[in-house]
């Protein structure tokens, strides 16, 4: 079963994105990052249609180019199939083997996040539990 973006609306799965215009990260990156997360988590699956650029831009109160850029970025990464005159579609993507450099970059990011969590007083057991939950959610 795939969740399709239709005129009549078929809210089969809960998929929402949230951007913060006051954040330092550009809006198109925020859109792309969150869509990628939804795809990886399985909230959006291969075959699912994304909202038209115009529709998503309207709802987020941003320029069309912001959403178009996010879709283009995800298409280049192999997550989406985009074309003129039709909605972007989530496609099957072969998982690449991480390079040593990518692995190191992810490790560094993870360390930073963990340090931030610990610094803000989150207990180690809670962090472990949260990570476990997130990994389980992505497996399903």
């Amino acid at each position: 079963m795939c969740t399709q973006y239709t005129e009549r609306g078929m809210a089969a799965r809960n998929a929402q994105i949230r951007i913060d215009l006051s954040a330092s990260e550009p809006a198109y990156r925020q859109v792309a990052t969150q869509l990628r997360t939804l795809i990886v988590e399985g909230s959006l699956r291969p075959g699912d249609l994304l909202p038209p650029v115009r529709r998503l831009a309207l709802d987020l109160a941003v320029h069309f180019n912001t959403v178009a850029e996010a879709y283009r970025m995800l298409a280049e990464e192999g997550w989406l199939d985009v074309g003129h005159g039709r909605n972007a579609r989530v496609i099957e993507r072969a998982t690449p083997k991480p390079t040593a450099a990518a692995w190191e970059a992810h490790r560094r990011k993870l360390r930073q996040v963990l340090a931030e969590m610990k610094a803000s007083g989150v207990a180690a057991s809670r962090i472990r539990q949260e990570f476990q939950t997130l990994i389980e959610a992505m497996k399903s």
């Binding site: 215009l21 954040a23 994304l50």
Partner: protein, 349 residues
């Protein structure tokens, strides 16, 4: 003559004054005179002082305009008397800008957070679209009917400048295409404009959330569309009947018009009251528009926002985003429509 004209002008001016008296309260608690403020600001001493000054201007302008209109009518200056509401509006606009400028010094950064459903309905029910599209066809159908029965129309017919009384007309005019088709043409133009605005709200306004209670924005949008549709239907039926006046008896018109007026008022009250309530409720968020894009606190110009219609920051309803090129086309239409009406009206004389 003086008192009759004054009795027509005074209620309009008083209604405008009452509307603007309450307008500072008719919006989310963190929007005050179109500026993003803290929820508590409205009740603060400075917040109340701004509202007091604004209301003093509103009522002073109204009294000034009423006095000017009464004096002008006494001297037989009807045109000057008709300009009195414009004086009132100018005073209110000045008061608004003063209040807006004062409030700006207490502005807080608006919430930059916006969220959107990835899987959702893009429009609304099809019957809603149909209900929105059909009203302009009312006067068009009336015009076609008049055209098909043009030879059957009387050579002269009565016009009413006051209340309609069966068996009595104020004056007679000769039949001509301009006279026959003026009412449906003007009505169709106005309803077409309403249709464009309705389609703008339906397809080119925000439905995502900007931090307010979930579902607030779609409900506000839906209610606005329903009110607009109701008004369009009432206006369409009323103007269609008026267009067919030469073929109908005055008694029929007299019987039908109050029905349409009641329907129009029922629509305004039925949807207007819930909309005002929604506008005033504590929603927990702001709108998705930056303060600096609200010129004078009333005109929205944001080329980075793809929306054509955005929620007003004062009062209820939607306004145009002049950062969108289509808004300028609509503005041109709005400016050209009165010229069209004046041209048609002058042709009627």
């Amino acid at each position: 003559m003086r008192s009759t004209m004054f009795m027509l002008l005074a209620p309009v001016m008083l209604l405008i004054a009452v509307l603007f008296h309450f307008i500072p309260r008719m919006r989310k608690r963190n929007l005050y005179f179109a500026v993003t403020v803290s929820e508590e600001f409205r009740q603060s001493e400075e917040g109340q002082s701004i509202a007091r000054t604004f209301r003093t201007f509103v009522w002073a302008g109204t009294i000034l305009a009423l006095a000017a209109s009464w004096t002008a009518l006494g001297r037989g200056w009807v045109v000057a008397a008709n300009l009195a509401p414009d004086v009132q509006i100018v005073v209110i606009l000045i008061a608004w800008v003063i209040a807006w400028r004062r409030t700006r010094s207490h502005a807080v950064p608006p919430a930059g957070v916006r969220s959107a459903e990835i899987v959702q309905a893009s429009g609304g029910p099809t019957w809603g679209l149909l209900a929105l599209i059909l009203p302009p066809f009312g006067p068009v159908a009336a015009a076609v009917f008049l055209w098909l029965n043009y030879s059957e129309l009387p050579a002269h017919w009565g016009r009413y400048t006051g209340p309609i009384r069966p068996g009595h007309v104020d004056h007679f005019i000769d039949k001509s295409p301009l006279v026959v088709f003026a009412t449906p043409a003007i009505a169709a133009a106005v309803l077409l404009l309403c249709l464009v605005i309705g389609l703008g709200i339906r397809y080119a306004s925000r439905r995502g959330s900007s931090g307010e209670r979930a579902g607030w924005a779609p409900k506000f949008r839906r209610l606005n569309l329903m009110m607009l549709t109701g008004i369009m239907w009432a206006v369409s039926l009323m103007t269609s009947v008026l267009s067919l006046a030469p073929l109908l008896s005055p008694g029929t018109i007299q019987a039908l018009l109050p029905v349409f007026v009641v329907a129009l008022l029922a629509t305004l009250v039925g949807f207007g009251v819930p909309l005002i309530r929604m506008s005033m409720e504590r929603t927990g968020g702001s709108d998705a528009t930056p303060d600096e894009c609200w010129k004078g606190g009333a005109i929205y110009y944001n080329p980075s926002d793809s929306a054509l219609m955005v929620e007003k920051r004062s009062g209820i309803g939607y306004t145009l985003n002049f950062g969108n090129r289509i808004a300028w086309v609509i503005l041109a239409f709005v400016l050209l429509a009165p010229i069209f009406v004046i041209a048609v009206a002058s042709g009627l004389k």
